[in-house]
Symmetry: C2
Subunit: 456 residues, 2 copies
């Protein structure tokens, strides 16, 4: 090849990899690289300019609540929620397992479960952790009512009111609500949609502030779907371990990866028990069942005390049903299908966005999760857009709900991709595109240095 | 009658009522009064002497946890838990309803419920409130994961860390755990097993301390099963309303009344929306389902914010199942049976206690609930007794877990009456009685002025 092109093999390999990452070519096993059907892609979302970090009480709840009240409204076209649609979930099978458990183990399901949770379920979660790069001990796990209870417990375990917690900007709005509800302060570091949080920002914050804990989502963070590279995870854990700062890790979207392997959690790099890992079956099996878990690292005793002290028993039958479903061995097959569908849906919605949104709308290119993070054309305020789309019967989430700063991230929106691209969803995207085009003044179609690459 | 006895009718009526309340005679409809099979009864538990109230941080969790870990141990004879045994619950019927809901509404059950909770369930709870002396509006109710989440939410709504909360002594240990977990301080007022909290103590505390909220169980308080008379409820609400102090009311045992009618909640006397009523189906239908509610009075917006901020969705299928069960109209019949069984069990266990415990053991005479509050012979420490019974395979709860003072209530124990008086339970009571007799020195069998009455 060198003979015909004059380039070195390393250069050519690098070019192939770049073309593949852009989706222009595609590798087929034992056949080589092939051109894909080329689709226009919206430019990538780039990281914001650095700002001086500051530490503040969190007070965004009222705004978040008023936004979120409308998002689940069944009369709206659901571009807001980052949840798998029921067609992606094993509804029939889980329903049958559930019916069997409820009928034949009715009495057991009606009794209280222990504070730590169903032993059988804990064993099964521990067994599954074999694939994640970290092996859990069932005796260490605490079953919770969803990931959010796990995160609340973890925060209450390692902080007290008025302590400062390091978070990402953007940050999942429910985390901001929890921080406010617990009377905690927050300082944020930038997250880059490609690589997750900026480690230099973390270093700067650690120098300037007394940080009681970090609350982070290293894999497919909600809302920017960012994924931290393995080396960055290691460096982050080392950095925080030096200062003995506990890390509360949200691992809830990790199973929905489009990469070859499941990315490892921060916990896999944790030697000191400083990582409190929080996850659940809410994005992979049954959101409404509220079955999650906390692996509290070295803080088990204190975490159990808080669990006993506020919500001593998570619902019993829900835990039994999930344990029984896992015992049937169907979950891995289901996850494979779920990943494939989620990937296809994210790509399909990306493509439609590229076709109908103004060309200077930038879009994330997630490697997992169920949502897209969009930077709007510069003259558009997401809050205005939110009100306009709502009036037209479409639900989106404006970026400002993901910021702990008033007026922050108002140039962003999150689009959920949990629903298949039905005509209804297509219609929602078209309505949104039309609105954006109306709101965009003619002639201001440049991304003003925010995006480095544009594909034709 | 006057002609034959020489007493006035009023005096005679009064005598009949006293004899009936002592269980010596029994009224049969349209037949008159009849002698009951006379059983010896343990003397009543009387109220403790007053102590100077003090306000303190709550720090009893570790002790409570270490006690409670053993109480649910299935290898022990369960005299500890204050829960209905499965034979008292509609296991088969609820199991069938649950199986049907899980199978035929599987997808709905897997989706998130709204923050406020299932609308249908809220309507049904509101409809049932018609019988309680206060009519709820479904739009006011918030569905919670059990009563304890309702109480935690209520406390977080009306207090901030380091605030002082007025509680009863004895106080349900889970409340002490919540107070500690939320960093609250407590000041206690005495509760009298006959009449509930002592209003003079409340007045004294209100003069001396800045009280942010009260947390009380006016009907069949756990553990002393005390019931506040209606006039005392009115006076308490008036007293606290004058000072605009919110009252968090635990109403969870009220449905298990042995009286003719359901005692009304404090909420029925509340004109200003200051009462936050907390209850659940945990003692009447399915403990493990974790379906409760909060009627937050004038604090709805703030309570919803805290619900959204920590546990935004209570489990979906559990709410659907309870709503469907209530729709079938069987609940009232079940409650009648439950009350009858609970009453019979409480009386049967009382009787056995009278037969086998030292005669100076004093025992509460509850008009509802599922537990007995016992004052031990003066030389016995409940903590020692707890360890000894545990070693002999019997679970009881020592009184000190119900006190916010170190060393408080160590002369008391709580005996759960949720289990029918099977040979196993009989054996447990006998073991306990034997231990008590061994521990009681000969000749010290007086109640030392603690009990006013002894029945032969």
């Amino acid at each position: 090849m060198k003979a015909t092109t004059g380039f070195s093999i390393t250069t050519i390999n690098q070019a192939y990899l770049e073309l593949e990452s852009e989706g222009i070519i595609q590798a087929r096993p034992r056949s080589g690289f092939f051109l894909r059907k080329i689709i226009r892609k919206a430019p990538k979302v780039k990281i914001n300019h650095p700002v001086e970090p500051d530490c503040r009480p969190v007070n965004r709840s009222s705004m978040i609540q008023s936004c979120m009240e409308t998002v689940g409204d069944p009369r709206l076209i659901p571009l807001g929620l980052a949840l798998p649609h029921e067609s992606l979930l094993p509804v029939k099978r889980l329903g049958m397992v559930a019916a069997k458990v409820m009928r034949y183990q009715a009495a057991k399901g009606m009794a209280y479960e222990s504070v730590q949770g169903n032993r059988d379920l804990r064993s099964k979660i521990a067994f599954r952790s074999l694939d994640t790069g970290v092996l859990f001990d069932p005796e260490q796990l605490i079953i919770t009512s969803g990931t959010l209870e796990a995160i609340t417990l973890a925060l209450r375990t390692v902080t007290k009111p008025n302590d400062t917690v390091l978070i990402a900007e953007p940050c999942y709005f429910a985390f901001l609500q929890i921080l406010e509800s617990l009377g905690l302060r927050a300082v944020s570091v930038r997250s880059c949609p490609d690589k997750g949080i900026v480690l230099n920002d973390v270093k700067q914050v650690l120098q300037k502030f007394n940080i009681a804990a970090c609350l982070l989502s290293p894999n497919f963070a909600n809302p920017d779907a960012s994924l931290m590279p393995s080396e960055a995870k290691q460096e982050l854990v080392d950095l925080l371990t030096q200062k003995e700062i506990p890390i509360i890790e949200d691992d809830v979207y990790t199973e929905i990866y489009f990469t070859e392997n499941r990315p490892e959690p921060l916990k896999a790099h944790d030697k000191e028990g400083l990582v409190l890992l929080c996850s659940s079956f809410s994005k992979t099996l049954a959101p409404g069942y509220r079955v999650g878990w906390l692996e509290p690292g070295r803080f088990k005793e204190e975490a159990l005390k808080h669990k006993a002290g506020t919500n001593p028993h998570s619902a019993t039958p829900n835990q039994m049903i999930v344990a029984e479903y896992l015992a049937q061995g169907d979950f891995d097959q289901h996850l494979k299908r779920l990943r494939k569908s989620a990937h296809a849906q994210v790509e399909a919605i990306q493509q439609r966005i590229s076709q109908v949104f103004p060309s200077n709308t930038c879009c994330s290119r997630p490697l997992g999760g169920m949502f897209l993070w969009l930077k709007l054309p510069p003259e558009i305020d997401a809050r205005t857009l939110f009100l306009k789309t709502h009036a037209k019967g479409v639900a989106i989430i404006p970026g400002n709900v993901f910021s702990c700063h008033q007026g922050g991230l108002k140039e962003f929106i999150r689009i959920g991709c949990g629903h298949p691209l039905t005509p209804k969803i297509e219609k929602g995207i078209h309505i949104l595109g039309e609105l954006l085009r109306e709101m965009t003044k003619k002639g201001s179609n440049s991304c003003k240095g925010l995006c480095t690459r544009k594909l034709a």
